[in-house]
């Protein structure tokens, strides 16, 4: 157990590669494809299982570093450049890692019938992608982070480009170029930090926590912020960097969309939270109004454009733009409640939008069309599907007792609590209304009414395998909606640290305020 726990991050991160290795060594040929699927599923599921001890041991003192990071593992990697193999997580990364391992195994399970060509390659790419994403959430060395960030890009490119829809090449290349452009600018930002650190301290290092202590002059902060902003904003995606997203989602296979929406988009928001905010606090405050503005534009804009879509997947894709706007609104107002809400909303979006893409995938697999007008009255033939779809629709539009409400509420509450920006909450509230409009309209058109297309009359309801992909997501949606405390409890400490860095002294933790009140 000792070896396992001290190396747990490495094990969790590289566990999926074990599956890749086995698949590569496994005998080739059509007749072995089912075995390959089993291997991928088992490895992905075990990948989730090995990530569970991260929760159970999270607050054991022996795994807590002096910086507050957990399970820290540090070893020199490229000594001449000061690059380290440096892993460590806090509560924010913990939740995102668990989301990744869970959604990863769900989306691999959902691919069982959807992927029929080049099966081995598909699962290999998916597992490599999994490792890339996990590494991003664990790396505390900026160079290491960048390596994982880029590693992630390649398998996703292939997943869209090989197993995607009719315009897959256009979408894949657009996705690749967009993110590559972002990556290059991000790299410039990282290098600027790296050289500045050397200039100040005389040390070559990519240590993220050390960057936070640098006290970078504001002018330099602004430039670095802008460079990193482009990199992260494209990933989120923030308006107007979002147009790769609808194309990528529409063309990607179902599992690709689930991972893309569920985890990959969170890379951008995570990047802002982990790097931009604590390393560049002055720039954050300087650009705060602008960030608020584009977040709000994203919320309203995404919702309005989603309303008019004829393609279900495109609709859900644009709804992501709107939801991620909420996340960014919460992150950039940098009040404790809103930041926690924004981070929770990242998880929520992964759950509900991930599930919505699975939902689209299920009818796509049966009918090979994603046009809303090709469906109607499906609740007559697919009652279980109708219930799952309804729950996830409600989760997405922020119905209380489900997860989306908690996140949206906390974000808007936190925005409203800031005296200078309270009116921005009004736009957020408008987004809630529009969200209900486009999602319920979608639901009405697809599920209500009579069946008009003969092909739809014999659609089978969810199979046990399909239902299994939804059950964990539904449980989580209700859990977070009814009793979010266990999730929020992991966020208090890191969020307070970040807020304290960006807006020192403005928000005292509750206990201190209570004491002042008592006096």
């Amino acid at each position: 157990m000792g070896f396992f726990m001290t190396n747990i991050l490495t094990i969790v991160c590289f566990f999926p590669l074990l599956g890749v290795l086995i698949i590569l060594l496994w005998p080739k040929g059509k007749e072995h494809e089912t075995e390959v699927k089993w291997i991928a599923n088992i490895v992905a599921f075990l990948g989730f299982v090995v990530s569970i001890p991260l929760i159970t041991h999270f607050n054991r003192p022996e795994y807590i570093d002096s910086s507050g990071m957990r399970y820290v593992f540090k070893a020199p990697w490229i000594e001449s450049l000061g690059v380290q193999y440096y892993f460590g997580i806090d509560g924010i990364s913990l939740l995102l890692i668990l989301l990744t391992t869970l959604l990863g195994s769900i989306s691999i399970l959902s691919s069982w019938n959807a992927i029929t060509t080049r099966v081995r390659e598909y699962y290999c790419y998916f597992l490599i992608l999994q490792t890339g994403m996990l590494g991003v959430f664990m790396a505390l060395d900026f160079f290491l982070f960048y390596v994982f960030w880029e590693v992630m890009l390649v398998p996703m490119y292939f997943i869209i480009g090989i197993w995607g829809g009719p315009r897959k090449l256009y979408a894949a290349i657009k996705f690749f170029l967009y993110t590559l452009l972002g990556s290059v600018l991000l790299l410039l930002g990282i290098l600027a930090l790296y050289f500045h650190q050397y200039a100040v301290k005389g040390v070559w290092s990519f240590d993220v926590l050390a960057f936070q202590e640098l006290g970078i002059p504001p002018d330099l902060q602004y430039w670095i912020f802008l460079a990193m902003f482009v990199g992260f904003a494209i990933k989120v995606p923030l308006f107007p960097f979002h147009t790769w997203l609808p194309d990528a989602h529409v063309e990607a296979p179902t599992a690709g969309s689930v991972i893309l929406a569920g985890v990959l988009l969170k890379m951008g928001t995570y990047g802002f939270v982990r790097f931009s905010l604590p390393i560049l606090p002055d720039a954050t405050m300087e650009f705060l109004p602008w960030m608020m503005a584009i977040s709000v534009i994203g919320i309203i804009y995404g919702a309005l454009v989603a309303m008019m879509q004829k393609d279900i997947k495109k609709l859900v894709a644009y709804s992501s733009v709107s939801h991620l706007g909420f996340c960014m609104l919460g992150v950039f107002i940098v009040t404790p409640v809103a930041l926690e809400g924004g981070i929770l909303q990242m998880i929520n979006h992964g759950i509900s939008t991930g599930a919505l893409f699975l939902i689209v995938g299920i009818i796509y697999e049966r009918r090979h069309t994603r046009m809303i007008s090709d469906y109607s009255g499906l609740s007559h033939v697919m009652p279980v599907y109708a219930v799952v779809f309804l729950i996830m629709t409600l989760s997405s539009i922020g119905m209380p007792t489900l997860n989306g409400f908690i996140g949206e509420f906390m974000v808007l509450q936190g925005v409203f609590a800031d005296p200078d920006y309270k009116l921005w909450a009004v736009f957020g509230a408008a987004g809630i209304v529009l969200g209900a409009a486009y999602m319920l309209w979608l639901y009405q058109r697809v599920m209500f009414g009579t069946i008009k297309q003969e092909e739809n009359r014999k659609l089978p309801d969810l199979t046990p395998r399909e239902l299994a992909t939804f059950v964990p997501l539904i449980i989580l949606a209700f859990w977070i909606g009814l009793y979010p405390s266990p999730f929020l409890s992991y966020l208090h400490e890191p969020v307070n640290q970040i807020v304290e860095k960006v807006r020192p002294g403005e928000f005292q933790p509750r206990s201190m305020q209570a004491q002042i009140g008592d006096r």
């Binding site: 147009t243 906390m410 209304v433 209500f448």
Partner: protein, 644 residues
């Protein structure tokens, strides 16, 4: 036992889960039985709680139970806490009591429906959410119930999923409500920001300390109450968010009864009364509430005059009566508003269920002008509906007389009242009597129209028993609030502890003599009778006059029938405008044109330049060598310039 009052939530939730998860495979008898039993159990339990509750001294009639901390982050905390005070007690009894009768009635009305399990599951959930709404100990938990009833109404209005209009109506109800909900949410934020708590008890206590006197103008309390009121206009179908309610008739009739009587629409009234401590300190907002109430009451009553659809008449009637309630709240008579909510719950449920009985008999014929002569075949329905009509029209001594009369009297007598309110209220009373009698004469008298013969009968005890019980309640419910000249206003006294932190405008103290009050009551009664008599003249015997009037003044008739075209204006400007903006501007121009245009433009730019770059890779060794030399030379020059 009383501290476990919140357990009343359990049976409806259990019923929902039972029918929702297992109902599909169970026989209809068990499904409907379980649905009714759940609400019945909850009602009986609450009766037992009530028996204990009234024995408590008034100062202790405020029981708070904290279940767990729901959300905690930074300085923000929201509890999952429940509150039982006289207001929630009376609301709970109405919700579960009337709700139970509607459940029983549904077993007959919905007989043979294939989605019965769905229906009862949603109905149970509706009661659960409404109970949660009135039992919540803070604004956020109240909001959960608030959104919850919105969801249930969505599910039930859209119950006949194969009908497109049902789906449209359901979505409209939800989205229009969401507009109000968003305002409500902003109000909640403002409350927390200003007072640092959302718990009713501590909040109202703080408010009474920090704002001892009411203050005109746009104070923070005015902003809070205004936002909450906008929320209330959504749920309670007041101007400007009244448009969803008439469409909501797409749902099964018992659902209409539930929405209009016991749940949903009363939520807005409840919210304002619950927040009386805030509203009583924002006199300008109170005035607005009264004005909105009066206008809504008038507008809806006028619209109800000319409707052909029996359920639409009742729908507009509900909007109009809710306007009455808001008028009462607006003049500071909070307990009077609850009094009318209480009596209205009985007679409006009764009228809807009666209408449902008519529909069962006529195979869902909704047009009043295709009805007639039903009084012989539907005896029980006919006489119970007459009781309901008389109660709604405010005929002495039925319940509506006392509650409506109190509203009118407060509108005149309260320091916040105004004679204009009173006059408008009188007009509405006359209109109410007219449209209700019109409905009765058209449906039950005259010659049977369109082949529905004299034969046929009531649909059974499950229909008649709830009707009879509700008729009884509609007749006597007014006795709990007798006016001062007749005796004791028990409801006022019972509700007193609820308003302990409200600013007392001296509303309930009488400012004028009993004789004036009697005179006012007499005037209202006379106008109601006049309205009824006019309806008798126009619709009971010779029915040609109304048609001639409609032909003579088509513009007025059309405007009234279409609810002053407000709905059309909304769909044209708001819905149409947003759609055009989204489709024509944002998506086609901004997204596909500008942003993607820029991206694709860059791409084609690169493609052109890459042609040049590609030519460099000719495969010819000598060309490569030339490039290498050129490159090296450039680097050399650069290094020279740096060093030099």
């Amino acid at each position: 036992m009383i501290e476990y009052f919140w357990l009343a939530l359990v049976p409806p939730l259990a019923g929902f889960l039972f029918n929702g998860l297992a109902g599909k495979r169970l026989p209809a008898r068990i499904v409907s039985g379980a649905g009714c039993a759940a609400i019945g159990a909850s009602f009986l339990f609450l009766l037992a709680v009530f028996a204990e509750f009234i024995r408590l001294p008034a100062s202790e009639q405020q029981i708070v139970h904290r279940l767990f901390t729901w959300i905690q982050a930074g300085t923000f905390t929201a509890e999952c806490s429940f509150l039982l005070d006289p207001l929630s007690m009376i609301m709970l009894l109405v919700i579960t009591g009337v709700g139970f009768l509607i459940h029983v009635y549904s077993t007959a009305y919905m007989k043979g429906e294939s989605g019965l399990y769905r229906y009862f599951a949603y109905l149970n959930l509706f009661i659960f959410m409404m109970s949660l709404l009135v039992m919540a100990g803070n604004y956020l938990l109240l909001f959960v119930g608030w959104e919850g009833v919105g969801l249930c109404s969505y599910l039930l209005i859209g119950y006949y999923i194969e009908r497109r209009s049902a789906g449209d109506a359901a979505k409209k109800a939800f989205v229009v409500n969401r507009v109000g909900d968003a305002c409500f949410l902003l109000g909640v934020f403002l409350i927390f920001k200003t007072f640092g708590t959302l718990e009713f008890g501590s909040l109202f206590e703080t408010v009474s300390r920090t704002h001892p006197q009411p203050e005109g103008g746009f104070t923070v309390l005015a902003a809070i109450t205004l936002l909450l009121f906008l929320g209330a206009t959504g749920k309670s179908a007041q101007i400007p968010l009244q448009v969803w309610l008439p469409d909501a008739m797409e749902g099964p009739t018992p659902v209409s009864a539930l929405i209009h009587a016991a749940t949903m629409v009363t939520a807005g009234v409840y919210l304002v009364v619950r927040s009386a401590a805030l509203y009583s300190r924002a006199p300008d907002v109170l005035l607005l509430v009264a004005v909105v109430g009066v206008l809504t009451a008038l507008l809806a009553a006028l619209t109800a005059l000319v409707q052909r659809d029996i359920k639409k008449v009742l729908a507009y009637s509900t909007i109009s009566q809710l306007g009455y309630m808001f008028m009462a709240l607006g003049v500071g008579a909070f307990s009077t508003g609850i009094f009318h909510l209480f009596t209205h719950a009985f007679f409006k449920a009764l009228l809807f269920l009666g209408a449902g009985s008519v529909l069962l008999r006529l195979h869902h014929e909704l047009d009043l002008f295709r009805m007639g002569g039903l009084k012989n075949s539907l005896r029980v329905t006919c006489w119970t509906m007459w009781v309901g009509t008389a109660a709604l029209a405010g005929i002495v001594p039925l319940s509506g007389f006392f509650s409506k009369d109190e509203i009118l009297w407060r509108a005149l007598d309260s320091p916040l009242g105004h004679p204009v309110f009173w006059v408008a209220g009188l007009v509405v009373a006359g209109l109410t009597a007219f449209y209700m009698c019109r409905l009765m004469f058209l449906a039950f008298y005259g010659s049977p129209a369109h082949g529905h013969g004299e034969s046929g009968s009531e649909a059974g005890t499950a229909v008649t028993a709830p009707l009879t019980l509700l008729a009884g309640a509609a007749a006597v419910a007014g006795l709990i609030g007798l006016p001062a000249y007749l005796g004791d206003h028990r409801l006022d006294r019972f509700l007193e502890p609820v308003f302990r932190y409200s600013y007392d405008h001296g509303v309930s103290a009488s400012h004028a003599s009993h004789s004036l009050e009697l005179l006012a009551a007499g005037a209202a009664l006379a106008i109601s009778l006049l309205g009824g008599a006019l309806a008798y003249r126009l619709y009971a015997r010779d029915r040609s006059l109304p048609r001639r009037l409609a032909d003579r003044f088509p513009a007025i008739h059309g405007t009234l029938q279409r609810q002053f075209r407000i709905d059309e204006a909304y769909s044209l400007f708001v819905v149409g405008g947003l759609k055009a903006l989204s489709r024509r501007v944002l998506w086609r121009v901004v997204d596909v044109g500008v942003v993607d245009g820029a991206v694709n433009g860059t791409a084609s730019l690169f493609r052109r330049w890459s042609g040049v770059a590609a030519r460099m890779q000719s495969g010819n060794t000598r060309t490569y060598a030339a490039w290498i030399v050129t490159g090296a030379a450039l680097v050399f020059l650069y290094l020279l310039s740096v060093i030099g």
